[in-house]
Each structure stands twice: as structure tokens, then as C-alpha cells.
Symmetry: C2
Subunit: 318 residues, 2 copies
């Protein structure tokens, strides 16, 4: 099922019922006034593990074939996918092994341990990828890719299914793009319900690989992405790229200094704690992007896992 259809996302939604939270949609007059649009925020920062990633991880692990039962689940992630896999494994009675490369947000690391997963250290993401085959062999493990997996994508697509069930008449949807798992699921779900909805990818200027990949129709890697939106440093995969090419209306590029500004707006005006990746999807509205003027705009706030010290540091330095 490399081609993900609307039916796959509906099935995923059935399987996630009662397991994943149906997250709130928040609105705010100040946000509408600031942006010149009518804005709806889908709060996946309220999702289990504090981010949408739980949906895809749970769905993909649930749907592994029965003959794999008993084999541990392995993944590479220093972020929300790690937490998603760890919690999903706890709920499904499976062992989780997480390869983490480099510095990790301490709140995410602690959550992974609290869910009972085992952490394997790597120097950085590349080192983690090098170590993966050996670890999989040693553990006789099953690998769950963070985004380039149709079952993961179908799970992430359920966000949009819920969003349009709550607010059916959106003109535009904004979501951040890293590996494109959420975004491609979003596209398929949105266009399954309403082909007229325009889905835009929001990408930080310091990690501009998706925009080039979609234009050139090949995965253009980003050797040294530089952005505080850790979750968006990843490049697209061969499953997500064709979906984005088919469905995306366009890209909004977000400058680095817009990220803490959007986090501050969320904190002070919306009373919401959002991660830098979420801020990337909010930023085009705060700068009154002309294409959004007067539109009904849905924003996927992807997560809220920020620890206080990191949050302080970002503002001290910005």
C-alpha cells in the first residue's frame, strides 16, 4: 500500500479510536486580528506524548503482521517519534528500543524512559543510522520508520480527518514539513474530504530541503540544517515526496527569528505552549502572508514538548 488513500486514513482513525485523543481546536480573536484571517488551531500539543507522532507510531506498531509478535520494536529518533513509539509499545505490550543521536531535549528523553523503553546512545543521527543494522540484528528487531512508512502516514493523516470534522469549511491548511509524514497524511485526508482545500507546507529557512525536493522531484538532502525546529531537520522520503508533489498548493518559508516570535505569541496571547516546529506553521499568519488574507485557515500545532530551561534559553538569546 505505498499509495496511501483516504480509505487507509479512515481505517487508521477507526483503529486509533479511544486510544489517541481527539484534540481540541482553539480559536482566538487576537490571532484573527493579527493575521487578517479566520484561524483554527488543531492542538496536537494536547495529544498523548505531547505531539501528533503518537498516532502514526501506534498505528504502525499495531498493524505489524502477527508473525512478528514478540519481536522488539526499534527506531531512530531523538524527538517526539521516540516518545510515540515508547508509549505505543507500552500500550501494545511490546519492547521498545530507541536509537538517539546527539543532544536530546531532556523532557523527551525522560518521557521515553518513563514509558519503559531502552535508549541506545549514538553520537549523532548519522551515527545512529550506522548503528541501526547491528542493533536490529542483535535484537531481532522490527524497524519503524519515523515518517517514510505508509502506516505511519495513515496514522498522522487522522489529525486532518478530525480537524475537518470539527471545522468542515477550511480554505487553507498549514502544517510544518520535516520528513513529510504528517504533511502527506494531511494532504490525503484533506483532499479526500474536500479537494478544494489548499494545503501549504511551512519550512524553516535554515532547513530548506523539502521545497527543493518537491520542485526537483527527487529527495534533495540537506547536509547541515540549522534551525531551532529540531523536528524539521529531516529530509523527505520516497513515500512522502510523490504525495507532496501531487497534493501541495505551495510552500511558506519561515525565517529563524519568526520562530521564537510565534512561540511568544502562542504563550502570551493564546496561552498555549508550542514547540518550534509548531511555531513554523503559525508564523506565516503572524506576518500576514497575503495568500491567507480573509481565508479560513487551519493550522496544525504539531506538539508542545518544550522544557522550561530550553524555552528560557531561546528567549535569552533571541
Amino acid at each position: 500500500m505505498d499509495d496511501i488513500t483516504f480509505a487507509h486514513i479512515q481505517q487508521a482513525a477507526e483503529r486509533l479510536r479511544g486510544i489517541a485523543h481527539v484534540t481540541q481546536v482553539v480559536t482566538g480573536r487576537q490571532l484573527d486580528e493579527t493575521s487578517g484571517a479566520t484561524v483554527f488551531l488543531k492542538c496536537e500539543n494536547f495529544q498523548r506524548v505531547g505531539a501528533f507522532k503518537f498516532r502514526g507510531a501506534y498505528h504502525a506498531i499495531l498493524m505489524r503482521p502477527p508473525e512478528e509478535q514478540g519481536r522488539p520494536i526499534v527506531t531512530i529518533s531523538s524527538g517526539n517519534h521516540a516518545q510515540g513509539v515508547a508509549l505505543a509499545c507500552r500500550l501494545l505490550g511490546r519492547q521498545a528500543h530507541i536509537l538517539m543521536g546527539g543532544l536530546t531535549n531532556p523532557i523527551k528523553r525522560q518521557a521515553v524512559l518513563d514509558y519503559g523503553a531502552t535508549i541506545h546512545e549514538a553520537a549523532d543521527h548519522l551515527d545512529a543510522e550506522r548503528k541501526l543494522p547491528t542493533l536490529l540484528e542483535q535484537l531481532h528487531g522490527v524497524y519503524i520508520h519515523p515518517f517514510n512508512d505508509p502506516l505511519v502516514i495513515a496514522g498522522q493523516g487522522t489529525v486532518m480527518l478530525e480537524f475537518l470534522a470539527t471545522v468542515p469549511d477550511l480554505d487553507v491548511v498549514l502544517a510544518p514539513v520535516g520528513g513529510g509524514g504528517l504533511l502527506s497524511g494531511t494532504c490525503v485526508a484533506a483532499h479526500g474530504l474536500n479537494p478544494a482545500v489548499k494545503v501549504y507546507a511551512c519550512e524553516p529557512a535554515g532547513a530548506l530541503d523539502a521545497i527543493h525536493s518537491v520542485r526537483e522531484n527527487r529527495v534533495v538532502p540537506m547536509p547541515e540544517p540549522k534551525t531551532m525546529a529540531e523536528g524539521l531537520k529531516t529530509s523527505l522520503g520516497d513515500v512522502t515526496l510523490p504525495l507532496l508533489r501531487r497534493h501541495l498548493a505551495g510552500f511558506f518559508v519561515v525565517e529563524e527569528d519568526e520562530i521564537p516570535r510565534a512561540m511568544r505569541f502562542a504563550f502570551e496571547r493564546l496561552k498555549l505552549v508550542i514547540e518550534p516546529s509548531s511555531a513554523v506553521a503559525l508564523a506565516p499568519l503572524l506576518r500576514r502572508e497575503p495568500a491567507l488574507a480573509g481565508k479560513r485557515v487551519g493550522v496544525i500545532l504539531t506538539g508542545g514538548n518544550v522544557d522550561l530551561s530550553a524555552f528560557f534559553d531561546q528567549f535569552r538569546s533571541s
Copy 2:
């Protein structure tokens, strides 16, 4: 109508329909695990002006007699009531004059100005009270008390009406107590719908006047309240005191160091920005107060107006 009845609150809810937000109720498994209770958070931090105070202010100003039309509205407040009055006046086409005593949270001050209100400076709250009669005379103004006013109380009571409409089977409700406007409205609304609900007042140890006032059946003033929960420094009034005596199940006293801890929990675990006053109502759950174990507990998160710098300072010093 010094005696506020359930019908008054129902009428207030009718009048606020489409004007005040129907705020979200948020739940969280980590909060349930930490507290040993099943917790529901009524998010008045998402209310217009970022706090429940808008409800009472709007309702009281709307219901002033027609012969007062054209006369400006005057109040004393350095906090959310000031914002509530300022926005209500803008919506109702009236002039607002706010006497502010002492240091004011800059985010609240700016919001008041943005709503078009005039700020009158006073050295502190006492000085503001001294200046009030002259100002009222000069302006031929109409005074709106922040809490000791039946119309204000009826407006604040609508929070609880909504809360029980969303979650009908609460065992216990927690709300912070300052002047008792929200709390007495909460009591009347809760017991109008379900006399078995237990309403508890949460009061900071550094401003323990309500607990003594209720016990001694007289307004016991607090000469120098010391707490970061600015909104809770006020003493009860002669309208709120008898209502609290009749309805309250009891008090939870919250130590000062529990306040930033609850704010941090809200930030990191719930992804919510809450004011110190809201944190006071959350704190008894985080310390696993025995009376709440196993109960379905509703918490009124009263507001979320914290500016980032003040937020940082609180954690640097705690």
C-alpha cells in the same frame, strides 16, 4: 438581588451567549496519574482578555440601568478585571476609566490601553481607593466593583454552568479565592445543578484571609498579603462572604512554592500557560490531597495572563 440565585446565573448565561467564549475543558492522563483523581480543567485562560473576569464585567456593565447611559464606567484594578471592564466597555460603546495602584503586569496594562480605556495612576491599592470618590465625581462615573456585586458574581457563575454542561458528573470543584466573586458564583451555579457537588476554595498561605473570614463570619482583612498570586490578595466582601459560608465544603491552603511548581507542570505537561492564581487551584491535586483521591475533580483555571519576562523571573528565583 443581593441574594444571588441559580436563575440569575442562567440569565447571565443568556446575556453572555455569543459574547463570551464557551471555553474548552482539557484533560490529561499524566495529571490523572499524578493526582490519583480524574481531573477536568475548565480553561478560562482561553476566555476573552485571557481570564474569566470578562464575564462578570460585561454582564454588570450591560445591566446598568438605561438612565446611566453615556456615563463612563470606572473601576479599580491592576489585573484581569481592568481588562474585562476595558473590553466590555469597548463592546458596549462606553468609556472606561481604570484606577491602577502600584506595579502592574505590563501585558495587562497594554491590553487595557489597546481596548481604548484610560488609565489613572495610583501609588498602591489604598491610594487608588482614596482617589476613587474624586474621580467618580469628576467624571460623573459609574463604579463597577471587581467582585462584591451581584451582577458580577452572576456573570462569573456562568463558568460553572458551562463546566457542568460539559462534565455533568463532577464530585468536586476547585477554584481559587481572592474577593470570592468567581467562587461564590461557582457555588450557586454548581449547587443549582447538583447539590452534591463539593466546592473547595484554594487559598495561598501568604494571603489567608478568606478562610478566617468564613470561619469567623466577618470580613477579616489581610494587612500585607504576600503571594505571587496577585489576583488573590483581595479580601472577601459582604456579598460574597455569606454565599461562601452557605456553600463551601472547605479550604485547601497552598504554600507559595507550590505555585511555580504547578505553573511548570501546566507548561511542561499540559502545554497550558496559567497564571499563579490558576496554579493555586491546581496545586492540591499535584500534592495528591487525600480528600480528592479517586474523585472526579473539576478545576477552574482562571486565567493565563503571564508575560514572558515575569514568568522567567519567577523560575529564576524559585
